[in-house]
Symmetry: C3
Amino acid sequence: MTRFEPSGVVTLTTDFGLRDPFVGVMKGQILLRFPRATLVDLTHEIPAHWPAEAGFWLARAFRYFPRGTVHVAVVDPGVGGTRAIAAVETEGHVFLAPDNGLLAPVMDGAAAPVARRVAESVLERIGVRAVSATFHGRDIFAPVAAELASGRLEPGQLGEACTDLVPGWLEDPVVAESHVTGAVVTIDHFGNLITNIEAQHLRHLSEAAVRVAGRDVPMRRIYADARPGEYLALMNSFGVLEIARAERSAAEGLGLARGAPVVVFSKRS
Amino acid sequence: MTRFEPSGVVTLTTDFGLRDPFVGVMKGQILLRFPRATLVDLTHEIPAHWPAEAGFWLARAFRYFPRGTVHVAVVDPGVGGTRAIAAVETEGHVFLAPDNGLLAPVMDGAAAPVARRVAESVLERIGVRAVSATFHGRDIFAPVAAELASGRLEPGQLGEACTDLVPGWLEDPVVAESHVTGAVVTIDHFGNLITNIEAQHLRHLSEAAVRVAGRDVPMRRIYADARPGEYLALMNSFGVLEIARAERSAAEGLGLARGAPVVVFSKRS
Amino acid sequence: MTRFEPSGVVTLTTDFGLRDPFVGVMKGQILLRFPRATLVDLTHEIPAHWPAEAGFWLARAFRYFPRGTVHVAVVDPGVGGTRAIAAVETEGHVFLAPDNGLLAPVMDGAAAPVARRVAESVLERIGVRAVSATFHGRDIFAPVAAELASGRLEPGQLGEACTDLVPGWLEDPVVAESHVTGAVVTIDHFGNLITNIEAQHLRHLSEAAVRVAGRDVPMRRIYADARPGEYLALMNSFGVLEIARAERSAAEGLGLARGAPVVVFSKRS
């Protein structure tokens, strides 16, 4: 396994939005303990209480950051209850999140991941006290991330390795001989429909096309291969199937939302 | 008083939004004078021209940042007119804002605050020239913040201490024997209603419950203590009363906006 | 020409929004190559596929950043096709953008700009490989920006100087003896209408007033010179004519959008 050697970079992924000072205050708490941290927002617009999307993006985004990055994700409907805090170490990166399935996509897609639950004794040891009931991002995640990013705490010290983190919320695509059925996981800023279907799921299909919202959509390489207003599907830059509409919003045009089914079929069959 | 020793951190709070380059340009002007500044956005989504909310959040957020932080807040309907620039030093932090009541909540809640108005001679001394009529965030606040954060300018050099900053816009809750009446100050990203009622206002009430929009709402410790869709009230992580709806938006459900009255009463009386 | 000496600052301007991890991932790729980069968001809310607005703001914002700043702008409807990557060096700053007209306002407004197209051999030399078809911001712009900001690559090494970058999308105002006709280029967060009319276009008009949406609007110095609800026009802090409504949204009040015509006339004539 690639050992975690801190780069000083900490990424933040939440459903807090940017309207309130919540994200800023988390950064304050990280800087208090580790003034030289380099803080990068991944996104704070995860749909409220929907950890699945945070994990989906993290699993596809983390390798674009330097090894030694600490990735903190807080989408936490169970805050203040009994859920644990999960940590995953893989490929020289460390992830912290509520143990609610958020990190399942990282566990599934990364090399030799090691999962742990953060022990209570660790919080005591690093001086985490007076924890609020409703804002663990500030009171627990930020301090632990700072200690990891500064190198004062090693991932191996967080707790015993375990194999029973809470499982993920998203189903894998169903792969049949003549077609593959997946779903829209999220809709991006441009209205492109991002699915959970990866290139590896489609290898056995020749001349694939996509059926979505009752419409057949051709596979293209780039957006500019379609005329403005035309629908297209492509394997996007994060390695998943995306349905787009050239220079428009596919989501609006098709009237689709998260969860909508997407079928890829072989035009030969 | 805790002396201000600059940490290099500068927080920014404005009503500029993130759609235009205004915030970025303020950061450019800070980095021009102090390249090693650590810049943290608190929020840029303060309602336009509503300084009260900026002060409300700053007063509750600043202690989560390292001592030595400079907090710049620009919500400034009177820009270019005769309003002065206020500076407050307290607990090892410094605040800069238009003298329009924005910093009143900081003055009210902090230990031994010292208020000043920034003297014209200071601007001359640090080379602030060619000030625009409409963007003092860039032309005045950013340079002064950079000089303070770099340590080249001390808070005591900004001007004479004074006791007559413009007062705040928010009224305090009314505390009666059997109940306390406050108001919704802001609505957060999750649709939670944030009020101006603090724990200290409620100490004399036994078995408190909350009446809001004609509805009685029970006090809980955490969101997960209510079933999805149920309303609850809790003392939130910033120490003020909040009305929430588990996994939903209380603001939408109750049809309430900023300013709505909130009453806490004793179920015993 | 002022030589480019890297300050370590990189600004980012895109139409990616902040809902997805696209901007964060670009930052990850910059930090991977240049860990000490200082990253500043100019804006990520450029209207989708509308490079003209990115160039408009960059041309007016860049001088507020330290000399030696690298400005990366990615508004790129033709990504993955045959469009080149443009680089402009001027006044000690460097700009990178798709060659689609985005940088035309910078070329027009800056001193002795030198334009280049980034040569394929440069990408090979700095180890850019496995470029996706749809996300050049991450796969090309971020690495090139990092190499420039770190000083490992000089602007002069990007390619041959050229004079035929793709021209801009915005027309200049039409200046007549008795009036000047321009257009709304963008609408800011406050609902102010930002036009392409600069002070230099108006020098020959005495006692100027503005006609917009069939209404005559007086010129003022600052917002506070009008009563709440009144319309006014002013030369804003970026040197262009702006139509505002005191403490309200002029865009909503007038029902206007980007592209709307604005006429400045002389009240004397």
